[in-house]
């Protein structure tokens, strides 16, 4: 007993001694630790409010404990219809994003690599990265005005869609729930596809030219070249990116949704994060918002861990 106590104390002293010896390193770490403590881990403790009936005047500690009542109300109670709608929308938007948004940067990278003249390729690439650096407010401002369809004026893209017969004259894309998802996915592709192609382009550039020469000598045509050289060469990057993407399925660009949607399009547009925002901050039902937010975070966490596990299984390289 006594010996154990000594051992414990010695260990503690040993830690202190090392920390003291390396005090400079810990001094350098201190701002980071304080920052995360104040702005990340402290609010994490605030998640306790998801299990309480939070009253702002009482504070988190003194509000009544209600157990899982908030969660029950979310999945099977007053808020259930809205909550499940947000849940469904989140995954639908993610899925469409994966289906349409994921292949395009890969194709772009393959096409970019076809251009042998560097100067021209650089120009086109530079153009295509630009939208990535514009803010969501600018992007959504452009989307809303270009697609605007009103009495006095119709935005040029809405006009084009009417001319091609994609929509009829009376359709207000921005106010119509049917068009929210295409609008969201396509503006996302416009903004990010060019920039996302960088990583694939780098992968293609890393493929040994010898392989291309070999398949040419063997009489392979272009498609066979893509099939047997380019794709296998990109495979590790592709797998990493798709796994990352699945790990992030729950995060669907909160700012862009909130800047693009409106009460008319909630049906297809309202995602978990915007639901949390409306319930928790706009309507002031903070405990419910915290509970929904916690639900969202937990799913996100499970997805990331799952994605990492899969990545380790198939390519034995852990993402983290």
């Amino acid at each position: 007993m006594n010996q154990n106590y000594d051992k414990e104390q010695n260990k503690f002293l040993w830690y202190l001694k090392i920390i003291f010896k390396e005090y400079q390193l810990y001094l350098l770490l201190l701002p980071l630790l304080i920052w995360y403590g104040l702005w990340f881990y402290k609010p994490l403790a605030g998640l306790l409010m998801a299990f309480k009936n939070f009253q702002p005047n009482l504070g988190i500690m003194d509000s009544d404990f209600v157990g899982f009542a908030n969660f029950v109300s979310l999945v099977d109670g007053k808020f259930a219809p809205q909550f499940w709608r947000a849940f469904r929308n989140t995954f639908m938007i993610s899925l469409y994003g994966l289906l349409f948004g994921f292949p395009i940067p890969i194709l772009l990278a393959i096409f970019f690599s076809e251009i042998r003249r560097d100067s021209y390729r650089n120009v086109v690439q530079t153009f295509s990265y630009l939208p990535h650096f514009l803010s969501e407010v600018t992007i959504t401002g452009l989307v809303l005005t270009l697609l605007y369809n009103g009495e006095v004026h119709t935005g040029p893209i809405a006009l084009m869609l009417i001319d091609f017969g994609v929509i009829d004259k009376a359709t207000k894309i921005v106010q119509n729930a049917d068009y929210f998802r295409p609008m969201f996915i396509m503006s996302g592709i416009w903004k990010e596809a060019g920039y996302s192609s960088i990583v694939y382009f780098a992968a293609i550039m890393g493929i040994s030219p010898v392989l291309y020469e070999a398949i040419k000598v063997d009489g392979g045509n272009k498609l066979q070249e893509l099939r047997y050289v380019t794709f296998p060469g990109m495979a590790p990057t592709l797998i990493t990116m798709i796994v990352l993407r699945i790990g992030n399925m729950i995060a669907v660009g909160f700012e862009r949704v909130i800047l693009l949607y409106n009460a008319n399009t909630y049906e297809t547009a309202d995602v978990l994060s915007t639901f949390v925002f409306r319930i928790g901050l706009e309507s002031g039902n903070q405990s419910m918002g915290a509970a929904a937010g916690m639900f969202e975070s937990l799913i996100g966490f499970a997805l990331v861990i799952g994605a990492n596990f899969i990545s380790r299984e198939i390519s034995d390289s852990s993402l983290w």
Binding site: L38, M49, N221
Partner: protein, 287 residues
């Protein structure tokens, strides 16, 4: 073109065509905005502005020039970007440096605490209450409370780790302490990585919208993005109360504002673009 087979040639033409179309599509809204902002009201409302401006009219920029709120918000954004980026880089590089030291006690645990922030979040409501509780409702609050991203810490840490240890050992023998090592050896040798991280932090500061809108209470402290969004939400009603015979459409005003938000990005863009690719490729996150 040297001996291309038929399939290669077709594919090449196809590829170049598509890529060109995509590049032009990326630029189109920007060009259109500028054209729409300097077109006359009649031409614009009749839908005659498709790519190039019609009935040139620069008056809307006079309105912009006289919009004091816009200028204030612009200066505010500069302030947030410069000081905020500096603050983020400061914390990030100090922490990243310490985390490269293998003998650091609790290194694994601290690494975990950093990486964990990428996986989980307290959610919007507890974050909001914490910000309010801590008094984040002014300029300095926004600068201090935001802007450290785990991804950037790991990126920088990986870069620092790749610097040969011999250099550090030599400096240690010469009596350098940790601060000197960081600022006189690691920082000068990591200019490229630091530039990339700076780029990432600066873009997120420049583009930051949501939390500034939620937290800032003084209208004089709003950044450009928030000011712009408020304009976009209200310009229709704002123009309804103005004399009808304006030579430009109400939309032209919004396009002009959007152009003003794009121009600074376009100006800096050529200088920063060589860092993108490097940043993306450095981001191979490893433990």
């Amino acid at each position: 073109m040297k001996n291309l087979s038929k399939s290669e040639l077709i594919f090449k033409i196809f590829a170049i065509g598509l890529v060109t179309v995509f590049g032009l599509m990326a630029l189109y809204p920007v060009v259109y905005s500028f054209s729409a902002s300097i077109s006359g009201k009649v031409a614009y409302e009749a839908g005659r502005v498709v790519l190039l401006p019609k009935d040139l009219n620069f008056q809307v920029y006079k309105l912009i020039y006289n919009d004091k709120g816009l200028w204030i918000s612009f200066v505010n954004t500069l302030f947030y970007t410069v000081f905020g980026t500096f603050w983020s880089i400061f914390i990030t590089s100090l922490g990243a440096y310490a985390l490269t030291k293998k003998h650091l006690l609790f290194r694994r645990q601290i690494n975990f605490l950093v990486v964990f922030t990428m996986w989980f979040s307290a959610g919007m409501v507890p974050l909001y209450l914490n910000y309010v509780n801590m008094g984040v409702n002014n300029r300095w609050g926004i600068i201090v409370a935001f802007g450290v991203q785990a991804f950037n810490i790991i990126l920088l840490r990986n870069f620092f780790e790749a610097i040969p240890k011999e250099i550090e050992e030599a400096a240690r023998i010469d009596g350098a302490n940790e601060f000197q090592l960081l600022f006189q050896i690691y920082v000068p040798m990591s200019k490229a990585a630091l530039a990339t991280v700076t780029l990432f932090y600066a873009t997120s500061r420049w583009n930051g919208y949501f939390w500034s809108r939620m937290l800032l209470t003084n209208p004089m402290e709003l950044p450009l993005q928030v000011y712009m969004r408020i304009l976009i939400e209200n310009y229709q009603s704002m123009f309804e109360n103005m004399p009808i015979d304006l030579p430009y459409a109400a939309d032209s005003y919004i396009y002009a504002v959007l152009v003003c938000s794009i121009i600074p990005v376009m100006i800096i863009y050529p200088y920063i673009q060589r860092y993108f690719a490097r940043g993306v490729n450095l981001g191979g996150v490893k433990e």
